[in-house]
C-alpha cells in the first residue's frame, strides 16, 4: 500500500446464489475491480443480520456491502425483501449514530452480473474513500487526561492516608 492514500477496508456480505456467484463470474471474466472488499459468504442476503454490519464497523471496517439477488429473484423466493427491510431499518439507525449512508450499501447483483457487482464494489470503495476512515474503536477512546486523573486520585489518596496515619 502506498504511504499516503487511504485504502478503505470493507467487508462484503454476499449471498451464495447470486452475488457470490456474480463475484465468481467477475473473476472468470477477469473484470478488474478494487481489492478493498473482503467477501464473506452467507446463504442469503436475508441472513445478513444488522449485528454483522455493526460488528464489522466496530472492528475497524470503513464500510460494508450487503449484496443479494434482485428483488423478486431470490433463490429463497422472497428473503431478499427481508434484507431490504432490515437494511432500511439499519440505515435509519446508523444515521442516528452519525454513520454516513454511503458507508453501508445494499446492492442487487444476479449471478450473471459480474460487471454490475464489480461496478458496485468500485463505487462503494470510491464513496468510502471520499468519506475517509471510520476507525470506530478510536471513537470511545478517552484522551490522555484520563490516565493522569486516575494517577492524581491515587496520589491524593496516598497523601491523605499519610496525613491520617
Amino acid at each position: 500500500m502506498s504511504d499516503q492514500k487511504f485504502e478503505p477496508k470493507i467487508v462484503g456480505f454476499l449471498c451464495n446464489w447470486c452475488s457470490y456467484r456474480a463475484a465468481d463470474l467477475a473473476g472468470s471474466a477477469r473484470i478488474m475491480h478494487a481489492p478493498n472488499v473482503r467477501i464473506i459468504r452467507v446463504m442469503c442476503s436475508g441472513r445478513v443480520d444488522p449485528s454483522f454490519v455493526l460488528k464489522a464497523l466496530s472492528m475497524g471496517a470503513d464500510g460494508v456491502m450487503i449484496a443479494g439477488c434482485h428483488p423478486g429473484e431470490c433463490h429463497y423466493l422472497e428473503q431478499n425483501y427481508k434484507a431490504m427491510r432490515r437494511f432500511g431499518m439499519l440505515q435509519h439507525t446508523l444515521r442516528g449514530l452519525g454513520v454516513e449512508d454511503k458507508r453501508v450499501q445494499l446492492v442487487w447483483a444476479s449471478a450473471a452480473e459480474g460487471q454490475r457487482l464489480a461496478d458496485a464494489i468500485d463505487q462503494l470503495v470510491a464513496d468510502v474513500r471520499e468519506l475517509g476512515p471510520l476507525q470506530w474503536a478510536g471513537n470511545w477512546e478517552e484522551n490522555g487526561e484520563r490516565l493522569q486523573a486516575l494517577e492524581d486520585i491515587v496520589k491524593e489518596h496516598e497523601e491523605a492516608m499519610e496525613v491520617t496515619a
Binding site: M1, S2, K5, E7, M32, H33, A34, P35, N36, D122
Partner: protein, 190 residues
C-alpha cells in the same frame, strides 16, 4: 494500490460526444438497427442518417460528421429517441453535434446556426423572442431572396395582427443577462 479501471480505447470523437450529451454513455450500445434513420421525418434529406452518424462517431470521422447537414436537418421531433430500442438519446446527440460544429467552426454560415444565433441574440436583448424580428433579421442577413417570397405571407400575418413589430421586454433583463453571462463563463472553464 492502483485503481483498476479499464483503459479507454474509444475514439476521441466518441468520448467528446458522450461527454457533451446527457446520458450519452448509451451511445456505445447502438445496434445499428436504423430505427432512428427510418423514423426521421427529414431522414431522406440528411447527408448521413443518424444511425450512420453514430457509426461515424465511433469511427472518429469527426470532420465529415461536423461538416454534414445531418444535425441541422434535425427538427427535434424525438421520434428517433422514443423509438430507439437501445435508449440512446439521439435528439440530444444531434444538439451536441450542433454545438460542437459551431464551436469548432465547422457549421456553414447560413442555415440553422445563423437562425439559432439570431434567435438567441434577441432573447438576450429583450428577454423574449418575437417572430418578426427573427424572420426579418435572419432572412435579411442570410437568405434575402426568400425574404421576398415570404413577404406575402408576412403581410397576411401582419394583417391578422399576428406579427408584432416590437418585442416585449422583460423587466429584469439585466438579471437574465447576468445569468447568461455566468453560464457562458462557466461553460468556457471546461
Amino acid at each position: 494500490m492502483v485503481a483498476d479501471t479499464p483503459s479507454d480505447n474509444r475514439s476521441k470523437f466518441l468520448r467528446d460526444v458522450i461527454a457533451d450529451t446527457p446520458e450519452g454513455e448509451r451511445i456505445v450500445h447502438c445496434l445499428q438497427c436504423g430505427s432512428c434513420g427510418g423514423s426521421c421525418p427529414n431522414g431522406a434529406e440528411m447527408n448521413y442518417t443518424p444511425r450512420a452518424v453514430i457509426a461515424m462517431i465511433a469511427a472518429d470521422r469527426r470532420e465529415e460528421v461536423l461538416t454534414s447537414n445531418t444535425m441541422w436537418q434535425c427538427v427535434s421531433c424525438y421520434f428517433c429517441t422514443s423509438r430507439c430500442p437501445q435508449d440512446i438519446p439521439i435528439t440530444e446527440i444531434m444538439y451536441a453535434l450542433k454545438r460542437m460544429s459551431i464551436r469548432e467552426g465547422k457549421a456553414r454560415k447560413t442555415d440553422a446556426p445563423a437562425l439559432a444565433k439570431t434567435f438567441t441574440d434577441l432573447v438576450e436583448k429583450y428577454g423574449r423572442s418575437f417572430e418578426f424580428g427573427i424572420a426579418s433579421r435572419y432572412l435579411l442577413f442570410n437568405r434575402p431572396m426568400s425574404m421576398l417570397k415570404s413577404s406575402g405571407m408576412g403581410m397576411s400575418m401582419f394583417a391578422k395582427g399576428r406579427l408584432a413589430l416590437t418585442p416585449t421586454r422583460i423587466r429584469q433583463v439585466k438579471q437574465l443577462r447576468a445569468i447568461i453571462n455566468k453560464a457562458r463563463e462557466l461553460s468556457q472553464h471546461d
